[in-house]
């Protein structure tokens, strides 16, 4: 009787370790992404302060001018799980956020969050690639 036995338990262990390390990389990258978007969006909301009832010194442009600072304080994030999160403006704090972001007939759009994503998405993707390769490559 002749038989060949394959034992791939070592390979499975290697794959399992690679999966764990890839997950760690994804967790670090998502955390970085949330921090970057929060920073960039908040920066877009930190324009010149002016009193209520006065005209904006530079209407229709970013960064959004500040009257009450409620809009910048409304920026929040939430982790659904370690690799999935959301950055948003809490409408309970500033119910006018959507009007500022998307504009109206009388007010030009100032997409403080959309522009933050556009500006930082390449850096976030680069970090995701770096964090994953760094750990899996070990």
């Amino acid at each position: 009787m002749f038989s060949v036995e394959f034992d791939t338990s070592g390979l499975k262990t290697t794959f399992d370790r690679a999966n764990i390390e890839a997950m760690k990389g994804a967790i670090a990258a998502v955390k970085f992404g949330v921090e970057e978007l929060m920073k960039a969006a908040t920066r877009n909301l930190m324009g010149v302060a002016h009193p209520p009832g006065t005209k904006s010194p530079y209407p229709g442009k970013l960064p959004v001018t500040r009257i009450s600072r409620e809009l910048s304080k409304s920026m929040k994030y939430h982790f659904f799980n370690p690799i999935s999160a959301i950055v948003y403006s809490d409408l309970r704090s500033a119910n006018y956020a959507a009007y500022v972001h998307d504009g109206t007939r009388k007010m030009k759009a100032r997409p403080f969050l959309k522009n933050a994503v556009s500006e930082r998405q390449q850096a976030i993707l680069n970090r995701m690639r770096y964090e994953t390769l760094k750990r899996v490559g070990r």
Binding site: G60, A98, Y99, D102, G103, T104, R105, K108, A109, P111, K114, N115, S118, E119, Q121, Q122
Partner: protein, 162 residues
């Protein structure tokens, strides 16, 4: 051709001219729309009975690195359709959104020839790549509705290199 130092305004002008060409030379629903360059002003809303297409100024999002030469600039530009109840409401805005997605995701967008005036120079029957613009992708489609303001919109983002 897109001029160095004027990329944002030139790209906006060329894309707007392309949309004007599309509106002028297509059947329904395009033929019932108009085009506005940039953000609409009050004169547009004073006689608002047809959906109009509008464009944001492009956003500079990066530059491709190329050894031994100047890399291509990567821009992101938001364009959309703006409707109101008199112009067809939410349904017309949804049609504009899907038409814009269909138009810019089709590779034919880069071979359609149209007339454009950029920086005072008239270009006749040129394609977007001949003007120095490449549409790489169309992303982030979204509907925006402010029913209290009678605003119904659909927007997409164009990923451009120039």
């Amino acid at each position: 051709m897109i001029r160095a130092g004027y990329e944002l305004t030139d790209v906006q002008k060329a894309i707007t001219d392309f949309l004007r060409y599309k509106v002028a030379n297509s059947g329904a629903p395009w033929s019932s729309w108009t085009v506005v360059e940039g953000w609409p002003d009050q004169t547009v809303f004073a006689n608002f009975t047809r959906l109009f297409l509008y464009s944001h100024t492009p956003l500079w999002v990066g530059e491709d690195i190329q050894q031994g030469g100047k890399g291509l600039r990567r821009l992101e530009m938001t364009i959309g359709g703006w409707s109101c109840i008199a112009a067809g409401g939410a349904e017309e805005a949804a049609i504009a959104l899907s038409q814009l997605l269909s138009l810019f995701s089709d590779p034919a967008v880069n071979v359609a020839a149209f007339n454009s005036v950029i920086g005072g120079t008239a270009y006749t029957a040129k394609t977007l790549p001949q003007l120095g613009i490449n549409i790489n992708d169309v992303t982030n489609p979204r509907a925006i509705e402010f029913r209290d303001e009678d605003d119904f919109r659909g927007e997409v983002s164009l990923q451009i290199t120039c």
